[in-house]
Symmetry: D2
Subunit: 374 residues, 4 copies
């Protein structure tokens, strides 16, 4: 089997999750390419060495410019803060590397489009790491919608609740800084639900939202206070081209909800509900069931017939959050080898970013913002 | 509409629940008889007067002998401690009264049979107040089993958890005294699940159980300690004539479980699960659903097509525990007016008591006890 | 005990629920007044007679004008379609009757204010039947918020899902007609959640919403199609004076959700979650619990120490939807007898209606609408 | 870091799960030894090669005798059918290999003791793969019990439900054959819950159970029928030395329950509940909470302060079933390197087997069987 040599930029949360995926995907899935962890790149050398050693990277770089120009790298994996996605991606594309990029794809739609255009122009494979499309329960939801089991869709409601900023004493981090993160809960969390809405329901037509910073400053390590310049929460209403109405909400102040991405789809024939904290389950209601025994059924999405599950364990043996990345990498490798577009690609990243930007604009001007039909 | 004049014996928990049912049944159900609360009977005159006034009883009696002999009483409702069921029922039957009796029907199967024989000989209508047969979700379960949706039944598991005796400082009450109560958790709680098993699955063949008193004495009001002479918990294994295996457990020391009667039925084609603390719901799994969307569905048993529900509110408006008694009284009134046997009747009370006695015997001798096939 | 003579206008869903409450409140609560069901009023004589007979009303009227002018009526209970609330209430006030009025109080805020002013001027007791304030779990939530257990409140999210219009074939009814109902899901369902938000969190500052009619016409009994002139669903964002942000949604097309009023409150110290379909439960999360054992706890709100529960059954024996009306009537009787304002009163009905109107306005002009601070 | 060279015997379900654990443990945990997958052993050469290739084993063997005698193997991992555990373990011990053995440890307690004695005599480290002790929620439960949060324990109830044999058409496999498997649901499933009971509650005193074969024969690949010689289900009552009472049940015919190991612990001060299908959650009830806000809280066991979790992802990002093996291997490596006994070791395997044997005996003779106090 041919190798695919991976250059990983970013060594923290996402760097670990992606590395784990590259290592394990071949143990369970019939990969067409064999991932080799060729180089890891980070700025903190001590941490970088520890990371590279942990995951058996063959080399390290402290300059991403250096990494993306190396001849022995086939695929660049961008797991860095959002502000760096654009320059890295452009340079990687210029060097003809395939690219996997963490979400949100960029600081704004303009950047996202640049990345998309550059990757397309370079003819490389590009993917945005919306890993939740690879939750088996969500892929099953997609299949059921496509099969018509839900009928005409009336409502798509989604929340993404976290609580790590609910305590005013939580320390200031890069994710609180607009210059590094672009936005707060919105880009971090709504990016996921907006992508899932596009995946499951279709394109957005218009949005109307509001953004808040509840806690204006947070303690820094040096004892001073850092100004929070991104949203703690963003809520918005949405209309979809196909006629559905949406309600979205993301917050990092939902005390007690740790990683609760939940959505509900209501249609004329049935409904679906999902919660990431119980990601092996999908709730499904069918109005086609006999009248006296209708109810939301909890599908434990661990059967051989469920998406991705034939690769894993017997029914009832649940998988974890990190498995979504293994599925993602598998699909990416298949796309690369078969020279087909990866899904979701940078265009999806750009379309998502357009929606996020529109919500931000609507929050500023207090009015609905219509999405371009492009 | 003809009146049916009720004589209520017992003015506490069950006396209140039954009185409420007699008052309200006609407001919602097409009753064939009009209940009149003619007389209430209790030993504590102050409490009796208050009770009678609350529920608008027309008269009171402090002697049950007096009450059951009154000409203006048609139906005697026995809501007193278990030790008194036998004498009251025999005397009521002798006076030709229809009889509703709380569960467990008697102190033992011999007593129960006496009651059954006397009521039959007198030609009166007799019913045991196993009110949980009238939970709509449970009646729906029965319908689904009868329709064959569950297939061959392999397992019937039931627990009845309460926790009001989990704290060793909980005071001594009549329910802790074998002379008044006959047994503890066993007769109080297992009586319900044994009856439900008979209702849903069929007759018992053999049982093997164990009984425990974890807390041997409890404080009395006068400062002395009362000896606990009934079981805090009783567990038993069971075999059913039709081939299913059962596991039962009742305890009053299940800290945190307030009134948690739960059962599960597993069959070759499907399964059912129920929990009294969420009594408006029934969980149903069908192996006939398409393979990739099988799951336990939570039926919210509040549709017009569900048992008893057309009399109540629109779908989703749940009913409470006490409604089971209203349903019970409705069914009783229909039975009386139509001269058909009430269900469950004293024979059912006796059959249930046989099982309870057999469990007690098995606990004493450490061996399986076979039920007579009578 | 003094009688309070009730004149009931409306004999359908709410007429039944209120009648049941008047009959039973005194059986369980220490009422200061004895309700007498003096007269029932409806337009369909056949149905009226059946209703009056079922609930033992002493007389009937087919003209509400007649009923509110009767000398033997103390309290007028308005359970009719929304368009009739104003004239009935004004006339009832003019005759010095105490008034209980179903929600939404009126067709718009102007009407609501008229009713409030008239009732105040007449010096009568007035209450709006926001019965969900009397769900024990919700009253407990209020107590916990007031005790500071939730801390500073960041978010209040509420949905009210029903599904009786999800099927396009569902027949046209008065609730689909703007002239009779004023609005659809909005006035019917959001009225409840707006009132609960005011009760739990405080006054609204501004709102921004959208309303939809997904199914424009529905079949009438006569074979023709009725034009749906009210919203199937209404979603809106909200800001509260105290700084919280809110997201609200009501729909009658949430397939599978029968009566699912759910809300979540997220604060700096804790959180609460509630679902009307499991109305005996309240979920509570405390950030004050030890770090490794924090979690949402499901409080089964059936203990003697819980609001209203000491009147009912032992712990774990749940109550039903209709009990909220019994609690409401109890509180109303206490207010009347003690000459204190009922809660919520017509002012609350008016304040709620202001919010509903503002949402409607925002939907029309696509912008935020600020609430007056009056 | 020193290598530890692993010889894996068995290449199916458990072989895959263990291999995955050896590969990944060092990526997340501070292992004191570096596992090297030195040799894989299986009888089917085609499958063996595929397996070895998938998981990068350096060599293969088709004879386990050959594997355990190799000088370049430090640790023998036994993942074969139960009947082979004894000979492999004895031979591995004779060659001075450390041993990890799948559960149940042996065909009966005599075999188990032989294995324990041999491993002790050889001075090797030995562990039984009761991986569920390494579920973070279960380890947290253990910590809470040890801290006294549950108080005196009254009840330990456990079920282990699977459904892969519910359909009579499910094919005959080695697990249905007593000569290969020793027992059915009992050794496969009750082994886990018996071990967890010992871990959480302490030693068994006596048991009384029953075993059933509901479906006597199943189709074989060659078209003939295979005789099922192991139990489809086993239920038993238990008494613990410390005074608690237990109820256990294992079945492979629980239609709809895929891998539902559930237990409940009820004590004088609190309670715990767990379900393997939602293995990232632990339900905890504390009677020490204020009276009006007691309830079962769902602890999402994903915080840094929870067992094993600091090695993984941020709070709310759940782990999967296979992670329990990674935790297990980590603990095993620490034990080996520190020359301390592994937990659970072969003595635990033997003690568990004694209980299983006693249940089998009680099922045969219909009486309680007392466990030796050794």
């Amino acid at each position: 089997m041919k190798d695919i040599r991976v250059g990983m930029i970013g060594t923290r949360f996402m760097g670990r999750a992606h590395s784990n995926a590259f290592i394990n995907v071949g143990h369970f899935f019939p990969v067409p390419l064999h991932p080799v962890l060729m180089a890891a790149c980070g700025r903190n050398e001590t941490h970088l060495d520890k990371f590279a050693s942990r995951f058996d990277y063959r080399s390290t770089e402290t300059s991403w410019e250096q990494l993306v120009s190396r001849d022995d790298i086939d695929l660049v994996d961008i797991c860095t803060p959002n502000a760096t996605h654009l320059p890295i991606a452009l340079e990687a594309a210029r060097h003809g590397k395939d690219i996997l990029c963490e979400k949100p794809i960029a600081m704004n739609a303009e950047e996202a489009f640049q990345m998309y255009a550059a990757a397309e122009a370079a003819g490389v494979t590009h993917m945005v790491a919306f890993n939740y499309r690879r939750v088996p329960a969500i892929k099953l939801a997609k299949q059921m919608i496509d099969q018509g089991l839900i009928g005409r869709i009336y409502h798509f409601n989604a929340v993404y609740y976290q609580d790590w900023l609910a305590d005013p004493r939580s320390p200031f981090v890069w994710r609180n800084d607009v210059n590094q993160a672009g936005s707060g809960a919105h880009g971090d969390l709504n990016a996921h639900t907006v992508d899932l809405a596009r995946y499951l329901i279709g394109e957005f037509e218009a949005v109307n939202g509001t953004q808040d910073v509840f806690i204006k400053e947070r303690p820094k390590e040096d004892g001073t206070m850092g100004q929070v310049t991104v949203d703690d929460s963003t809520e918005f209403l949405a209309r979809f081209r196909e006629g559905a109405v949406g309600v979205f909400m993301a917050t990092r102040l939902a005390t007690g909800r740790k990683n609760s991405l939940r959505f509900e789809v209501f249609g004329s024939k049935g409904s679906l509900a999902f919660n990431l904290e119980r990601m092996n389950e999908l709730a499904f209601y069918s109005a086609d069931d006999p009248d006296d025994r209708q109810g939301f059924r909890t599908i434990l999405v661990t059967a051989k017939s469920h998406p991705y599950l034939s690769a894993w364990w017997p029914p009832g043996h649940i998988i974890g959050w990190e498995h979504t990345f293994i599925h993602e990498i598998y699909d990416l490798l298949v796309a690369i080898e078969s020279h087909q577009a990866a899904v979701p690609d940078f265009r999806d990243g750009w379309k998502c970013q357009q929606v996020l930007d529109a919500v931000r604009d609507s929050s500023l001007n207090g009015q609905w913002v219509t999405l371009d039909d492009n």
